[in-house]
């Protein structure tokens, strides 16, 4: 007899969603978290897409510590001297059910942990799981210090570096091409100033995604979210590109914050926290094995992240994978069989859901984003065109076509590459 139906390692959104679902269904579940509370180790940009969480916990919009609902999305192409915005405000996003919310993870994950406990899960914090307990290649439980605990199934919800999935032989050591580094600052700003500055009413919030100058040409981008009385701002930069460009993410962030378009937005703000975290960025093509006898891998640990350049997305995928892992374990429990053959239905559930469908849709995004033009030449091209359109000189104006042609030449973008990039963008994004 095992001590538990399931032991979940890691109290992030993936692990806690699984624990909540299992406990609700009456299973014996233990969650082990190395931080002193859920979220103490966790960081994100902070845009939570709410749809799947609503399926799990319908009352979450009333209960969870949400900062603001996001109803305005701004995409910015930035060079050192200019910014070009695509600004979308969806009135539909202002109505319940909201599309997305800004959240702060130390608060949000902690709340989700409380929900899991209320549902009947046992949560222990301050304990690091050292390894999986294995018998003839079958996962039987976990080892933490001197302690061993057994379970029918272990859920590896231990985040992007997942040492547990590695120990089980489900993933390779890290390939820098499949990961990004995220650096983030939380900047406190009093509520009135924030709302006036961003034109916010009530709990409305704005998301910015910024490409080009923010990452100094390294593939990736900047994010900027309004919270209740603070701003989450940071960068996500592919690790292989950051290495080859030999730039320092913390210094690039400083330069970004000093940009004339950014500095006024955070003026008078006070740094409340500085953090960093690796993000899985390999997408669909880099997915590794998701299960073995007695083990399921969920969330970032399984590489379930999606970045199409405009949004970094992982929390909702993590929650969804936690739900499907829990449902799989409940089926396995009913059958009394926890072998890989039974657990394979977890993969099927992910494939049938938005998780792997969306990841498949954006499968080419990671490679497309590594194309240098997106981050260097195109922001320059846009700058050239609009500088020319809006600059008034004593000489007569060229017509628009001429300006575009000239800007294209100066940006170094060839017609061939422009054509092929537009095609790739349409195909991949």
């Amino acid at each position: 007899m095992s001590d538990y139906d399931a032991i979940v390692v890691g109290a992030g959104p993936a692990g806690l969603a699984a624990a909540y679902r299992l406990a609700k269904a009456g299973a014996e579940v233990l969650v082990i978290e190395r931080g002193s509370y859920p979220g103490a180790k966790n960081l994100s940009g902070g845009l939570l897409f709410g749809r799947i969480l609503r399926e799990l916990i319908p009352e979450f919009p009333q209960e969870a510590p949400l900062e603001r609902h996001i109803n305005r999305y701004i995409l910015t192409f930035m060079t050192k001297d200019s910014t070009f915005n695509l600004d979308f405000k969806g009135q539909g996003f202002s109505q319940e059910p909201h599309n997305g919310y800004s959240v702060l993870r130390a608060k949000f994950d902690r709340w989700l942990g409380e929900k899991a406990e209320e549902a009947g899960a046992t949560l222990i914090t301050n304990i690091k799981v050292d390894s999986l307990l294995m018998e003839n290649n079958v996962v039987k439980g976990i080892v933490a210090g001197e302690e061993e605990m057994t379970a029918n199934v272990v859920i590896a919800a231990d985040g992007v570096l997942s040492f547990l999935a590695e120990q089980a032989g489900l993933r390779d050591r890290y390939n820098p091409a499949n990961f990004a580094v995220g650096v983030k600052e939380l900047i406190g700003l009093d509520r009135t100033t924030l709302e006036e500055r961003f034109g916010l009413t009530g709990n409305e919030g704005t998301e910015y995604a910024m490409l080009g100058y923010p990452t100094k040409g390294v593939s990736g981008g900047a994010f900027f979210y309004t919270n209740a009385d603070s701003i989450s701002v940071g960068l996500v930069m592919h690790i292989d590109h950051t290495s080859s460009h030999q730039v320092s993410p913390s210094e690039v962030l400083e330069d970004f914050l000093a940009h004339p378009a950014i500095a006024p937005l955070i003026r008078g703000g006070k740094v409340l926290e500085y953090g960093a975290h690796v993000v899985p960025e390999g997408g669909y093509n880099a997915l590794q094995k998701l299960f073995t006898d007695g083990l399921l891998v969920v969330g970032d640990a399984a590489g379930l992240g999606s970045n199409n350049g405009f949004t970094v997305r992982g929390m909702d995928l993590a929650i969804a994978s936690g739900i499907y892992a829990a449902d799989t374990i409940l089926e396995a429990k009913a059958k009394g069989d926890f072998s890989a053959a039974t657990l394979a239905s977890y993969k099927k559930k992910l494939e049938d859901s938005f998780v792997l469908k969306d990841m498949k849709t954006y499968a080419g995004a990671a490679a497309f984003m590594k194309g240098d033009r997106l981050f260097n030449a195109y922001p320059k091209l846009v700058e050239g065109i609009f500088t020319s359109i809006y600059t008034q000189q004593s000489t007569p104006k060229e017509n628009l076509l001429k300006s575009v042609l000239k800007a294209r030449k100066e940006s170094g973008v060839t017609y061939m590459s422009l054509g092929s990039d537009v095609w790739k963008a349409v195909k991949n994004l």
């Binding site: 190395r34 002193s36 979220g39 914090t125 992007v160 690790i239 500095a263 740094v271 926290e273 960093a276």
Partner: protein, 93 residues
């Protein structure tokens, strides 16, 4: 711009300091095989620095992000999570 240095930013964070280091580097590999010293510039917490040609590690400020582990293609870094409850404690995250 706030103009704070990385150490100043780290000093705003909350840490539970673990005396025993959770990061070790294999100096031999660094000396013999490393071309680019990527850890020196890529670490967001500036945990790594060079002292008399040796790589020095100041584990106290580590944000536990794992970037060094991924970026060091020579695998010279032995990096584990700090013991349970120790290390960075995000109050916001």
């Amino acid at each position: 711009m706030n103009g704070l240095s990385v150490p100043e930013k780290l000093s705003i964070n909350k840490y539970e300091l673990d005396e025993s280091p959770h990061i070790k580097v294999d100096q031999e590999i660094c000396r013999k095989r490393c071309q680019n010293r990527v850890c020196l510039f890529i670490c967001p917490a500036k945990v790594y620095n060079e002292q008399n040609g040796e790589l020095a590690v100041d584990h106290a400020g580590c944000l536990e992000c794992g970037t060094c582990l991924v970026a060091c293609t020579q695998k010279a870094i032995d990096w584990q999570y700090p013991a349970g409850g120790f290390g960075i404690v995000y109050r916001n995250g």
